[in-house]
């Protein structure tokens, strides 16, 4: 059978269909898969985990490629729906925060307890003394003496590379290079392990250097090196092991893949800082309680003492203010008590008022702690006026003074001199208008009275004056003029009530003597003549001087003198002749005296009819006795000079 000729193209197509129908089917299926989005997603989902795993094994390229997208989406998500992250992170962050806060509180409480204990205990005082003695700080001494142990530094060290991943310390001043210390710690471990040929798994667990111990706490990829001061308890090791376990839980992957970048481990710092724990020596609870009570009682006692002192001070202050207010001449306008510093008092003060500092001392306050500020003023109350008077006139013991509505009342026994001054000056004092002394009994000092007399009259050398019981006794001799003045005025002087005058009047005595001499003189005449007999001249010649003396002394005692010249004649002859003769004889003498310069008006010649009565001792003969002229001094009060 011959087959009809067919188009070669058709034949080829037929052949391809026969040979490749399965592959074509598969190809179509693949095409469908690629164009069908859903199927493509399913395919990728099935291979993605494996692909990511392989990519990570090759390197960080996938992580690096994904990081920006992942970070961006996290930031975006936190901004839009933070609550999701809060809920997600709460189970992790919550316990960490609680643990951290609790630890901080525990440390604070412990520190406070220690401060209290160390401040009030004998041991505390002893440590304080040790600090002074050794020049260390108190805190350092306390730490050294009370510390049981303290984890001072923690190194987180990568096991493989010996590089330091994180270093935390309780003392920020520690400046040793943690990287090199970490390296050397690893080297020492290697050294120990190699030196004693122990297995790879065995390790140096701890070593001691002085007060320090270093504990090595191994982990799978990293280990902790804890630098501890003091004597840590065994229980510390499990705690540190828990810490290194936590580190591995949180950063296990990063530790395994560590390639030198330690910054990713910075987030472990809080965890490591929690492991920086310390324990201090505890005292018995009873002791603490007793001490606390002692402290409380001490504080209470101090508070009570302070309160008592404060109350006492307050009471004294009140008393002081009361005293100030009671004091005349002081007016308090403002007073403030300073509890811890200077107190203040302001007001007005009269010059006569007493010193307020003295009043403060009386009230048992220290005046140095009071700031006084006084303005001057004039107090017119009776007490102030009286004080002002007393300050100016010191009042005698027996004298009493009072101020009554401006009147100074003086009573009691008052010395005259003091009173005299008061009379003159008292009203010069502000507040005193007048002086009343009617009730006063004035006493005089005799000597002062005598001095007053002396000052008034000018005591003569010849006169002696004595005052006793108000009586002025004068003795001696004095001129008539002085005597008259003294007699007239002596009793007007204060302190002299009467005068006992026993003074001789010198002028009177001189007058009396002259008068006696003149009146005992005789001038004799010749018989029946008015011629003066020889023996009569002698008398006549002495007469003018004596008359002048007499006139002078009479003037001193206030008298005018007229000299009566008495002419006598004997009985022989007639009466008429004798009368004439008597007159002529008197005239003869007058003429003589006029010729001597005497005023005729002061001479009075008289013929005396009666015979002359001889005076006892007259030596003249009876005849002679009648032929004479005799004299009589007649006085009358002196007429004042025109």
């Amino acid at each position: 059978m011959q087959r009809a000729a067919r188009d070669p193209t058709e034949e080829f197509e037929e052949l391809r269909r026969l040979l490749l129908s399965r592959e074509r089917e598969q190809l179509r299926d693949l095409k469908d898969r690629l164009s069908d989005k859903e199927r493509r997603s399913q395919d990728i989902a099935s291979v993605l985990p494996e692909a990511v795993k392989m990519s990570r094994e090759r390197g960080e390229q996938l992580s690096n490629a994904l990081r920006p997208a992942v970070e961006g989406s996290i930031v975006d998500s936190i901004e839009k729906r933070p609550e999701i992250f809060v809920e997600a992170l709460h189970p992790i962050i919550g316990p960490i925060v609680r643990k951290s806060v609790a630890e901080s509180l525990r440390r604070l409480l412990q520190s406070f307890n220690q401060s209290l204990e160390h401040t009030f205990s004998w041991r505390g005082l002893k440590w304080r003394w040790e600090a002074v003695r050794t020049g260390r700080s108190f805190a350092e001494v306390v730490m050294l003496r009370s510390l049981v142990y303290r984890v001072e530094q923690l190194f987180l060290i990568h096991r493989e590379t010996s590089l330091s991943l994180l270093h935390v310390t309780s003392d920020p001043t520690v400046s040793k290079d943690s990287d090199m210390v970490a390296g050397m710690l690893s080297a020492i471990q290697d050294f120990a392990r190699d030196s004693f040929a122990t297995g790879e798994d065995s390790a140096l667990e701890e070593f001691r250097v002085g007060e320090l111990q270093v504990w090595i706490v191994p982990g799978r990829h990293a280990y902790l090196a804890a630098v501890i001061r003091g004597n840590p308890p065994r229980e510390l090791r499990p705690a540190l092991e828990e810490t290194i376990d936590t580190v591995h839980v949180l950063k296990g992957t990063a530790l395994a893949a560590f390639a030198g970048d330690a910054s990713v481990f910075e987030s472990l710092r809080p965890e490591l800082e929690l492991a920086l724990r310390a324990q201090y020596a505890e005292t018995k609870k009873e002791g603490k309680s007793t001490r606390a009570w002692i402290v409380i009682l001490l504080i209470a006692a101090l508070a009570t003492a302070w309160l008592i002192l404060a109350l006492r001070n307050q009471s004294r202050w009140k008393d002081f203010l009361h005293r100030l207010k009671e004091q005349p001449g002081l007016v308090v306008t403002e007073a403030r008590k300073g509890w811890f510093g200077q107190s203040e008092v302001r007001g007005l003060r009269d010059a006569s008022a007493p010193d307020p500092a003295g009043i403060a001392r009386e009230a048992k306050l220290n005046p140095d702690r009071i700031d006084f500020q006084w303005n001057d003023y004039l107090a017119l109350d009776s007490a102030s006026v009286k004080r002002r008077f007393e300050q100016r006139f010191s009042v005698p013991d027996q004298t009493r003074v009072a101020i009554n509505h401006g009147v100074l009342e003086i009573t009691g026994s008052v010395p005259y001199e003091w009173l005299d001054r008061v009379r003159r000056e008292a009203t010069l004092i502000p507040g005193i208008k007048s002086v009343a002394e009617t009730e006063a009994s004035i006493v005089y000092d005799p000597e002062l009275a005598r001095k007053r007399f002396e000052a008034q009259f000018g005591l003569l050398d010849t006169v002696n004056a004595v005052v006793a019981n108000g009586v002025l006794t004068l003795t001696g001799e004095a001129s008539h003029r002085w005597l008259v003045r003294a007699r007239a005025a002596a009793t007007t002087l204060p302190g002299i009530t009467s005068l006992n005058d026993r003074v001789i009047d010198l002028d009177q005595r001189a007058f009396d003597q002259s008068k006696s001499i003149i009146e005992s003189a005789f001038v004799y005449f010749l018989t029946d003549k008015d011629d003066i007999a020889t023996e009569g001249f002698a008398a006549l010649s002495r007469l003018p001087d004596e008359i002048r003396r007499c006139e002078k002394s009479a003037k001193q005692i206030g008298l005018d003198v007229t000299l009566e010249i008495q002419g006598y004649a004997d009985a022989i002859g007639t009466e008429t002749r004798n009368a004439d003769l008597r007159q002529r004889r008197a005239n003869k003498v007058r003429d003589f005296l006029v010729s001597c310069g005497f005023e005729p008006a002061h001479l009075k010649p008289l013929g005396v009819e009666q015979p002359f009565t001889p005076v006892p001792g007259d030596k003249a003969t009876p005849e002679q006795a009648q032929r004479r002229a005799a004299f009589k001094v007649v006085t009358q009060p002196a007429t004042p000079a025109p």
């Binding site: 390197g59 090199m180 290697d190 050294f191």
Partner: protein
């Protein structure tokens, strides 16, 4: 900052300690070398704008009396193999030590430092030997602890190799 542990390795007296002493912050005394067998120093170098902190473990010289303590090598990201240019034998020793190090910690970046480059007149190491090593992929630097030449460069180059992605 990235940290890397490196070691200074070489025969006794090649100048390992001298090489670093002028360039690092020292905290431990050289006494550690003879007691513990290692002294650790630190140096920060800048590599292409990034800072790398090198923890330099200066290991005690390897000789007949004191074998290299390979436990100190653990975790090293690289090492500086030091030989004394004036003593041919120290290069041989370095090559031998490199083998032991690789066996202990695997292939990590390292550099060969031919030290005492300032002593030109006493130089013993044949350049052809160095070229052979270069052909094997070794990188070498001539350094002088006395003059400071080449040291910084060596540390920087080693750091660069250590932080390069594999």
């Amino acid at each position: 900052m990235i940290q890397k542990k490196i070691c200074m390795i070489g025969a006794s007296g090649v100048g390992k300690t001298s090489l670093i002493s002028k360039f690092v912050h020292s905290m431990f005394s050289d006494k550690y070398l003879t007691t513990v067998g290692v002294k650790i120093d630190k140096k920060t170098v800048a590599v292409d704008g990034a800072e790398v902190m090198l923890m330099i473990w200066d290991l005690e010289g390897d000789d007949d009396y004191q074998r290299l303590q390979t436990s100190y090598l653990r975790g090293s990201s690289g090492y500086l193999l030091v030989a004394d240019g004036t003593r041919q034998i120290t290069l041989d020793q370095a090559i031998e030590i490199q083998g032991r190090v690789t066996a202990a910690i695997g292939p990590v970046p390292f550099l060969l430092a031919l030290n005492k480059a300032d002593l030109v007149s006493q130089w013993e190491i044949d350049q052809s030997r160095v070229d052979d090593l270069t052909a094997r992929g070794w990188k070498s630097f001539k350094t002088s602890a006395k003059e400071g030449a080449g040291v910084e460069e060596a540390f920087v180059e080693l750091s660069r190799q250590m932080i390069q992605p594999p």
